[in-house]
């Protein structure tokens, strides 16, 4: 099997990617469902405890055998079933399978460091961790860049009808029906970014170069930022031609894009979602598009993946991608290195490299 780290443009090792996706996708199910068998350790290989005293890390679920090999060069990898697990001070978790909540923290009371192999942290109770003195790290911005690129790609596709006109060409229609209908200019448009974290900032930086005017919504204004801060979502939608959703999913941001916001965005409005399906009231979004109350959408995430509402599938003014924004081979290689760097910092008593704090 070709190792996932060496994927090139034309080689798709599907089995590895299925693992990667399962492990680091956090769908909305995890907000409501309690996982019962979260701590499965899938590899059949016996976990070897290396001599020489490499620091032990508790690993709930391995991405692949490659992870085991690479981690074992620096650490002693312990599975949840091992008797050593309850004295482990550091753990590697994944958003798709682990809920770092009070139960887990009670079960492994020695934990003082949690490293999550993705970007989102909505599966981690940050306040509880902070209360117990447990440091938390994610993998920082390596994925943010991919997501920002994809957001811009989706937006350009919707505005300039790239996917649809590509289909038009391939169906032979340029020859028989003439020119494709005109698209819409991106330059000068007002973009409202919902959430100016590492992904939102990267998107803003990119769109500024296209001549867009950027405003943003976040809980408080960000210092040292040249974009206009707008404190509520309705005003942001009213003022913008384009909304980009790039905040984390919390109780407050669930369905932050609802019917009123879509109406405020208006007939010429476009919405891009590369965050979580649950950020948008999908039923309302579909209705708005069906009735022409907004102009178009670029979506990488949905409320019930991998299902996509059939009304969207029939539309030409939307671009629909299957939760692809996050991963590229370039960032996958970086993820392991960043996790290792965080564990090494913890064991050396130094600050974590990519810490996450409750705010």
């Amino acid at each position: 099997m070709a190792p996932y780290l060496s994927i090139s443009l034309n080689e798709p090792p599907l089995s590895a990617q299925a693992d990667i996706k399962r492990l680091t996708t956090c769908s909305t199910k995890f907000l409501t469902e309690k996982k019962t068998n979260m701590y499965a350790f899938p590899t059949n290989k016996p976990v070897t405890v290396t001599s020489g005293g490499l620091p032990p890390i508790l690993v709930f679920r391995l991405l692949s055998d490659e992870w085991l090999l690479v981690l074992s060069t620096k650490f002693t990898v312990i599975s949840p079933s091992s008797p050593l697990s309850t004295s482990a001070r550091a753990a590697l978790v994944s958003a798709a399978y682990n809920r770092v909540d009070t139960d887990l923290l009670n079960q492994y009371p020695s934990l003082r460091c949690i490293v999550s192999s993705g970007a989102g942290v909505n599966h981690i109770n940050l306040e509880e961790c902070q209360r117990r003195g447990v440091q938390v790290a994610n993998v920082g911005e390596t994925h943010s860049i991919n997501v920002a690129d994809y957001a811009v790609g989706l937006l350009l596709d919707v505005m300039r009808r790239i996917t649809m006109s590509d289909q038009y060409v391939r169906n032979g229609l340029w020859v028989t029906q003439g020119d494709y209908p005109l698209g819409s200019k991106l330059g000068g448009k007002r973009v409202g970014i919902v959430g100016l974290g590492s992904i939102g900032s990267a998107i803003a930086k990119r769109l500024k170069a296209f001549g867009c005017q950027i405003s943003y919504l976040s809980r408080k204004p960000k210092p040292n930022v040249n974009y206009k801060f707008i404190p509520n979502i309705y005003d942001l939608a009213t003022e913008s031609n384009i909304l980009v959703v790039s905040c984390s999913l919390t109780k407050e941001t669930h369905h932050i894009i609802n019917e009123q916001v879509l109406q405020a965005l208006g007939k010429e409005g476009i919405i891009i979602n590369i965050a979580r399906g649950a950020h948008i009231d999908e039923t309302e979004l579909v209705q708005s598009l069906v009735k022409g109350e907004i102009r178009g959408a670029g979506l990488d995430v949905y409320e019930n993946e991998p299902n996509i509402p059939k009304e969207l599938i029939e539309m030409e003014n939307v671009v629909l991608t299957p939760h692809q924004a996050v991963f590229t081979p370039e960032s996958m290689g970086e993820v392991i290195q960043i996790c290792i760097a965080n564990f090494e910092a913890f064991f050396a008593g130094k600050p974590l490299v990519t810490p996450v704090v409750a705010d």
Binding site: I7, L14, I145, D157
Partner: protein, 316 residues
């Protein structure tokens, strides 16, 4: 512009057609004649035709100019003038105008849009999502755009606008042009092959002339290589199209985003099955905002000429 005869070579933007008519022009619609009858059509109406509104597909070639003894001005609805016989116009004292600047942003936007589409395979992923295949398995990993080396053939207005956008993605920028330009942040290469050897994404953004025809040939394609991506928002003849198709089909070139082709609207069908290729129907300036601005320039140039005022964007 009362009663001035204007030969329109292509089906125009409705706004342009309305405005020309409103200002009193008599329109002669060349595109409505079959190709074999077009010169005949010109001769039949030559006593009236004093202006041509051309575009990137049909401008004013030598034969057409010869058929129109009263022709005074060619106002092209495009920035590229490869379809206008410029020496002949100069010789006859015919003015030529184009539509620079107003389309620079849209063309640069499309170049980047095509690049991301090719590298992240957005059209192919969209097809995958709509087909229901997602329920059975994940789509493939696609390669990152940010940070890749972008090489630009031609650092004019459009080339610079592309560079500015690519810089926001932290892409190192390099370029080829006839002479080095004062841009210390961009690396200059004195040949297209050197440029192609040292970049991941090669963008064609120069004018089409005798010298730049097939500037992207077999050797340049080989230098770009199996991980390289070609983006063409220039003209079809910039690229040796059969060589390009062979390289893509055989996997010797990593991918391509193409807005222009040798024989539009015909696109080589061997490309239709490839998902590392994005094909769009010459849409780089095709937004309602830009086409309206281009129409205004055409109208402005025509009016200026017939009112004997200085032209807005004359090339000849």
């Amino acid at each position: 512009m009362d009663k001035i005869g204007v030969l329109v070579t292509h089906k125009p933007l409705p706004y342009l057609e309305q405005e020309l008519t409103r200002r009193g022009c008599r329109l002669f619609r060349l595109w409505e004649s079959p190709e074999s009858r077009r010169l005949e059509f010109c001769r039949e109406n030559s006593s009236e035709i004093r202006a041509i509104v051309g575009n990137s597909n049909f401008g004013a070639d030598a034969a057409t100019i010869d058929a129109l003894p009263k022709l005074e001005i060619v106002a092209s609805f495009s920035v590229g003038l490869d379809k206008v016989d410029l020496p002949k116009c100069k010789e006859r004292g015919i003015r030529v105008t184009n539509t620079p600047d107003v389309l620079t942003d849209d063309v640069a936007d499309l170049a980047i849009g095509l690049t991301i589409s090719v590298m992240r395979r957005i059209p192919s992923a969209d097809k995958y999502a709509r087909s229901g295949a997602w329920k059975k398995g994940e789509y493939t990993l696609t390669t990152r755009f940010s940070g890749k080396r972008v090489g630009i053939l031609g650092l004019g207005r459009i080339g610079l606008a592309i560079a500015k956008r690519a810089e926001a993605f932290d892409c190192p920028i390099s370029y080829y042009s006839r002479s080095e330009k004062p841009h210390p942040n961009y690396t200059y290469y004195s040949t297209p092959i050197d440029l192609a050897s040292n970049c991941d994404i090669l963008v064609v953004a120069c004018a089409l002339t005798e010298e730049t025809r097939h500037i992207v040939n077999r050797a340049v394609i080989d230098a770009l290589g199996p991980k390289g991506v070609l983006i063409n928002i220039g003209r079809g003849p910039h690229v040796d199209e059969p060589e390009l198709v062979a390289a893509l089909v055989e996997g010797r070139l990593g991918g391509a985003g193409l807005d222009v082709f040798d024989n539009e609207p015909h696109v080589p069908e061997e490309l239709f099955a490839l998902d590392n290729v994005v094909l769009v129907p010459h849409v780089a300036s095709a937004t309602i905002e830009t086409r309206t601005a281009m129409a205004d320039l055409v109208l402005g140039n025509l009016e200026a000429h017939f009112l004997k005022k200085p032209l807005l964007t004359a090339v000849v």
